[in-house]
Symmetry: C2
Subunit: 137 residues, 2 copies
DNA sequence: GTAGGAGCTGGAGTGCGCTCCAGGTCAACC
DNA sequence: GGTTGACCTGGAGCGCACTCCAGCTCCTAC
């Protein structure tokens, strides 16, 4: 079973242009071609693309994905450095999640302030409540 | 208490160029100037910059930060739309965290595979274990 | 009074990750 | 056999968020 580029794009959530771009920059191997010279993606091509989208979603820079792709070509021999790349990336992603969480607290605090402002507005003007001024300014 | 641009950069973690850039694009108000025409940032300037870095860290695009900054100028009257922006952004950040988590599972699975490969290598060759081939390929 | 360092301005340049385009080929359908 | 539509190539262009630069001014310290 193979897929034309439009179908591959649909299945991976990437655009047709992005698929060709990933091929140009050697993130993926050139897929097989059909009799008319058109790209024919296999299921395993799509699996790899899907994995790449996970890496991209988690913010891995393309040059590192390329490095990973390059290592993949060397087969089992490169398992150790590939694992190392993924482990390092996992650590980065965990750090990112922690960072987002901590920013979320600030966001929650700010939103809360706006809520309290709205509550006050029904009673006293916000300007009369000192600890709310920062949020209004 | 005011701060020269280098000190403001140090305290906010932004670069001097970024501070001037944020001013140019109207993310921040032009700070006061000292007698020699140099920028003099106040604590409240820094507070705002710090908050902006939280928004940026969480991936808010600059044009939305600008919109928020613009609303801020209108004072308490714009509290409602500002709150709405933050709430929407919070939802985006939560979604992002969930997405990262789900990608982390894939990452964990892959790393686990590499671990099992290494374990097998001590015994049988990896190629002899069908469910590991995908990871080695 | 002069050398050095921080800061100033307007504008150009950069890196990333796509995205778009012109001009052509090919297969299929009417 | 003509038209349509998907796909092809090489290369240019884009949006974002900075980052860097040249050439200048100003204050400070010697």
């Amino acid at each position: 079973m193979t897929y034309a580029i439009a179908e591959a794009a649909h299945r991976t959530g990437l655009s047709i242009d992005t698929l060709r771009y990933y091929e140009r920059i050697e993130l993926i191997d050139p897929p097989a071609r059909d009799s008319g010279g058109r790209r024919a993606y296999t299921d395993s091509d799509l699996d790899w693309l899907t994995f790449l989208t996970r890496l991209r979603t988690t913010g891995m820079p393309i040059r590192l994905m390329r490095e990973y792709a390059r290592l993949r070509h060397q087969g089992p021999a490169s398992a150790v450095p590939r694992k190392r790349i993924l482990e390092r990336h996992r650590a980065d992603v965990l750090a990112r999640v922690a960072e987002l969480r901590s920013c979320l607290e600030v966001l929650d605090y700010k939103i809360d302030n706006y809520e309290r402002m709205a509550a006050c507005e029904a009673g006293a003007p916000a300007a009369a409540v000192p600890e709310l001024r920062e949020a209004t300014a």
